[in-house]
């Protein structure tokens, strides 16, 4: 279905998305200018630490943001349609049908008073014109496809009767029951043990290959990202700070935050005396620094960092929100450029259109 589309064409294109929360303490700009693109059939890994806005980005795409949150601006183009301005009923038809989502905690996302089969059948019935029985057959079929043994019996069981790994399989079965073109998976394996995580990742890979669906995989685990993704976007404090294909991000990371993240994780088989660290902590969303949001923790901080860096192209297909020169060296600017000079430089540098 998606094979005819060119590789360059995006299935989902998010441009300059801003989702803000008006809290009693002030305006939290949880997502503040996020741009992403997901190619049909490909997997985009979205990496970042807690509070960087990766989950809010996903919920914005699904239009599941509730008050006091609000999508302030930006466009979300899915298959040529603008999701932000789609009427509610059309969005409901699309949600769970062409775009499905699975969450981190399978227990809280399944309804405890309905059987697993009922919950999957409900999704099927909502999006296709089939009989109750056909919907239930489809539910049992889906359960067997996600590798649940004895699916007929499991379909009659309630979520509390299943283990964590099984529940996540039920979530995946439900999400895939409508053959979505895009699956948004928000930390799908974070709550699971490592051997169960391996089962779920293998399952997602197998299903991805067979259905040709695209995946937006949100995680903080760089191992999972390296394993699953074709492309990677790194987020920090509500913004995408770096994006490229997975090999480029892991081998030639440009942004000091991405480099710091990659250097700070202990790796199996590479024992080292000390781990690299990123100093300091993530800034308070109510009190963000001016200019570059990472400058207070950045080992390369320069005077120009007081001016907001644009997301610009480093090499074709590789964007980074940092003033450093593409080779990682100091930019060709004066030692301490005035604000006006920095502004001018910002305008002359290519602002990428990711």
């Amino acid at each position: 279905m998606t094979q005819t589309r060119g590789d360059k064409e995006a299935l989902l294109e998010v441009t300059d998305l801003r989702t803000h929360f008006a809290t009693a303490d002030g305006l939290v700009k949880a997502v503040d200018g996020v741009s992403l693109r997901i190619r049909p059939g490909k997997t985009l890994g979205v990496v970042g630490e807690s509070g960087c806005g990766k989950s809010i980005t996903a919920l914005s795409i699904m239009r599941l943001i509730e008050r006091p949150g609000r999508i302030v601006s930006g466009t979300i183009k899915f298959d040529g349609q603008d999701l932000i301005n789609l009427p509610d009923d059309e969005m409901r038809d699309l949600r769970g049908n062409q775009i499905s989502m699975i969450f981190q905690e399978p227990m809280t996302s399944l309804n405890p008073v309905y059987t697993c089969g009922d919950q999957i059948a409900e999704t099927v019935a909502r999006h296709s014109n089939v009989s109750r029985k056909a919907a239930m057959d489809r539910a049992v079929d889906m359960l067997s496809q996600v590798g649940i043994p004895d699916p007929k019996r499991r379909a009659t069981e309630h979520p509390h009767q299943l283990s964590g790994g099984m529940r996540q399989r039920v979530m995946i079965a439900m999400a895939l029951s409508t053959n979505p073109e895009l699956l948004i998976a928000d930390e799908p394996t974070t709550a699971l043990d490592v051997t169960i995580q391996a089962q779920i990742l293998e399952l997602m890979k197998a299903l991805r290959e067979r259905n040709g669906m695209a995946i937006m995989l949100i995680t903080h685990d760089l191992g999972v990202v390296a394993e699953m993704s074709d492309d990677v976007s790194v987020m920090y404090a509500g913004k995408v700070v770096e994006a490229s294909d997975v090999i480029t991000v892991f081998d030639k990371a440009h942004h000091p935050y991405s480099r710091g993240l990659l250097a700070s994780i202990p790796r199996m088989g590479h024992r080292q005396e000390r781990l690299e660290v990123i100093n300091g902590v993530v800034p308070n969303p109510l009190n963000l620094p001016s200019g570059c949001l990472f400058k207070r923790r950045c080992p390369y901080a320069m005077p120009i960092c007081d001016t907001k860096p644009p997301l610009r192209e480093i090499t074709p297909g590789h964007v980074s929100r940092c003033w450093l020169a593409p080779d990682g060296g100091k930019p060709e600017l004066g030692e301490a450029p005035s604000a006006a000079e920095a502004e001018a430089a910002a305008n002359t540098l290519t602002v990428a259109n990711p």
């Binding site: 043990d193 090999i247 781990l275």
Partner: protein
């Protein structure tokens, strides 16, 4: 339970057949430790209808100055083991000795009748100065109504440091050791980030200058960039203060980074124990092999094939007979399902070079065996979509 106060010199020798003669450099010795949580049921909910066998016969020793890592998946009993060693939970049976002092020695069911021995209140209080714990959740493990000074200074106060000035000096010293600002002494936990709270928890554990610290998942609640800060801190403190760690975690890369030796647990049993380099390079228990192969590596060039274990971890209330891993074991499949795995419980046995494994067929693990397990266990579901 009656407490029998036994002076240190009168404690009986360790039961024969346990981990052997005590070495001079052993700080903590654990012999055949068992912890069962009773399941109550019946009509009035008072009769015992079963037991969750959280820890079921674990023996190990922690050498002075080392970091012993303990890995395993949720429900394998690693946290319970740590708590029972510290006597934060009463043991069902078994013996723990800390720096020559027996904390408890409780005969197992069926063992020759002898009275259970517990260290007395005074002796226990003294030992507790020497063994401390850092918990997983830096939000739940700090009392929100106590200031940092009170939290870190509570241990010294309980143990007789009544002078306020002296205590404050100690707390300030501890805060600077863990990388916190001394001026934070009057602040409360909610004013700190997760990583800083974990530093407070570490300062609290250090305040009594213990030799032995149980670190129970100390970094798993922290973000990646903060995790490395805390790991470096734990490493530095160990070198500076000569600490001995029992480091409990599920993240295998973290455990490899911090540990000298590593134990792998599965369903209440220690299934493998070896030096860190040996166990990561050459695991000798099929569960360790699968566990290590399951970890996704942060390197897109090496998307490795892995051994996918079938099914879930069985319930510790009703563990499989024989070897507890036999229901999911890839090696047993390869060997044509030998009966022995299902009937005979394997002992942790020495395979040379300090590597111990509790597998009847540990010698059969080879790179060829692992290779074929990797390629045969692809769980691709049948296609009907």
């Amino acid at each position: 339970m009656t407490e029998i106060r036994t002076p240190n010199t009168l404690t009986p020798p360790p039961p024969a057949g346990a981990a052997g003669i005590a070495e001079a450099d052993t700080l903590v010795r654990v012999d055949n430790l068992v912890k069962h949580f009773e399941i109550r049921g019946g009509m009035l909910g008072v009769s015992t209808i079963g037991a969750v066998k959280a820890v079921d016969g674990v023996s190990l020793s922690v050498k002075r100055g080392e970091a012993l890592g303990l890995v395993g998946e949720s429900g394998c009993g690693k946290t319970t083991l740590g708590k029972v060693i510290l006597r934060l939970l009463p043991a069902t049976s078994g013996r723990v000795e800390m720096d020559g002092q027996v904390l408890f020695d409780i005969p197992a069911k069926g063992e020759k009748q002898r009275p259970a021995v517990y260290a007395g209140k005074e002796a226990m209080k003294k030992v507790r100065q020497n063994m401390q714990v850092v918990f997983q959740d830096p939000y739940a493990s700090l009392n929100p109504r106590m200031s940092v000074g009170e939290l870190v200074g509570e241990g010294p106060l309980v143990h007789g440091m009544t002078d306020k000035k002296e205590r404050e000096a100690l707390v300030r010293d501890m805060l600077s050791r863990v990388g916190l600002n001394q001026s934070h002494i009057h602040r409360y936990p909610h004013e700190f980030s997760g990583g800083q709270r974990q530093r407070i928890g570490i300062a609290r554990a250090l305040a009594l200058h213990p030799d032995f610290i149980v670190c129970d998942e100390p970094v798993s609640a922290l973000d990646v960039s903060i995790q490395s800060q805390v790991l470096n801190l734990l490493n530095d403190l160990q070198a500076e203060m000569g600490l001995t760690y029992l480091f409990i975690a599920h993240n295998l890369a973290v455990v490899e980074h911090i540990s000298d030796r590593v134990g792998v647990m599965y369903l209440g049993k220690l299934v493998e124990l070896a030096n860190v380099d040996d166990i990561y390079a050459n695991p000798r228990h099929p569960y360790s092999v699968a566990l290590l192969s399951a970890v996704p590596e942060p390197d897109p060039h090496r998307r490795k094939k892995r051994i996918i274990l079938k099914g879930d971890i069985p319930s510790p209330a009703n563990p499989p007979s024989g070897c507890r891993f036999h229901t999911r074991c890839w090696l047993r499949e390869q060997l044509g399902r030998p009966e022995r795995c299902a009937t005979e419980e394997p002992e942790l046995r020495d395979l040379g070079a300090g590597q111990q494994s509790a597998c009847h067929f540990a010698e059969e693990i080879s790179s060829a065996a692992v290779e074929s397990a990797v390629t045969t266990s692809a769980p691709v579901p049948t296609s009907t979509i």
